[in-house]
């Protein structure tokens, strides 16, 4: 299996899925509020896990996520650091410039950790994983979006570039894309 890294994809591929820079440079005193809505839910207070079922919707200031089932670790305080979304996962992300990115998959795993002052924040999509925006469409298995480092990583990726907003998307394969836009894993 050939693994291709999409490094700084906003600059290299035009698939601009910028990490939220606001996490690094706070500019507003308002707290970040995340809502999780669902039809029903189970909370295991011993294991500190929450299982949301049916019509699950997650929203925060720059991202919307919907799925059928979502499992999250409940933190003592602050943000959640591990979330698994399953079945018909749809993510819509809006970056600081207002550009939207649409991602879908059968499963998405979100992880957040801060170690030695470095933030590691990733979203890994599997199962018919696809990420698209105004510039193009990327499929792969899996697709990992490193929000903190601002890049995507995909295995067996396939790109469809949109030449412009009025033209039909042009499909291409990764060897071409790899020559000038992607790098092999070291």
């Amino acid at each position: 299996m050939k693994k291709i890294y999409f490094i700084a994809i906003a600059a290299l591929c035009g698939l601009s899925v910028r990490a939220q820079t606001n996490l690094i440079a706070p500019t507003n005193s308002a707290p970040r509020v995340t809502h999780i809505d669902s039809d029903s839910a189970d909370f295991d207070m011993n294991a500190r896990t929450a299982i949301y079922r049916g019509n699950v919707r997650v929203s925060d200031p720059d991202m919307k996520l919907t799925c059928v089932r979502l499992v999250a670790d409940l933190p003592q305080s602050g943000r959640m650091n591990h979330i698994v979304a399953e079945t018909n996962v749809v993510i819509d992300y809006t970056d600081a410039k207002g550009q939207t990115t649409h991602a879908t998959g059968d499963k998405a795993v979100y992880n957040y950790a801060v170690e030695n002052g470095a933030t590691n924040e990733t979203v890994t999509l599997t199962g018919n994983a696809k990420v698209e925006n105004a510039q193009g469409c990327l499929t792969g298995e899996p697709i990992t979006w490193n929000r903190a480092a601002d890049h995507l990583t995909a295995t067996n990726p396939k790109m469809i570039y949109r030449q412009n907003l009025n033209s039909t998307p042009a499909e291409t394969n990764l060897p071409t894309a790899n020559t000038n836009q992607m790098s092999e894993p070291k």
Binding site: R32, V33, D37, A41, D44, G78, A96
Partner: protein, 165 residues
């Protein structure tokens, strides 16, 4: 928790009619214990009002409050259950800081299986109020500390990280 101990007494009492003790005596005893065990005002109909029940940690933190259950009204029901109105449950850490606060307009606590349930609303929040869980219709299993909310669940999380304008 004193209130729960009292409920446990009621459950045991339910078995005694088989030994020939009249039910009304048991009910009277339960109501008496209820009045003695919790700080409450008892109405002529036997309801306890404005009650509070406190549980403390075991040694060496026996002076620290572990939980405080309060309600506007508690009414014993058949089978050892209690109908509690305006429920407020607070749970504290050993250093005294609040960990969990639960509010429900009404719920039924069943001592026989250690559950509390209601078709009404529930609001649960952590100590600093930055995590709030609300919904309608719930079942709480005390034995394994498992909460199920049946309808319209909303979790709100406020994190310290700041938003861009």
């Amino acid at each position: 928790m004193k209130l729960l101990k009292m409920v446990g007494s009621a459950r045991c009492a339910d078995r005694t009619p088989q030994r020939g003790i009249p039910t009304f005596l048991i009910v009277t005893a339960v109501l008496f214990l209820f009045a003695m065990k919790i700080f409450a005002q008892q109405t002529p109909t036997g309801h306890a009002t404005d009650f509070t029940s406190v549980e403390y940690y075991t040694a060496p933190n026996q002076m620290r409050m572990k939980s405080r259950l309060s309600g506007a009204e508690a009414q014993p029901m058949e089978g050892g259950s209690l109908l509690i109105k305006q429920l407020k449950l607070e749970m504290f850490a050993t250093n005294g800081t609040p960990q969990v606060i639960v509010n429900a307009p009404e719920c039924v606590y069943n001592s026989a299986n250690g559950t509390a349930n209601s078709s009404g609303k529930l609001l649960l929040q952590n100590g600093d109020g930055k995590i709030r869980i609300e919904g309608e219709g719930f079942l709480w299993r005390q034995t394994d500390e498992f909460l199920t909310i049946s309808n319209s669940v909303r979790t709100t999380i406020e994190s310290d990280q700041k938003m861009a304008p």
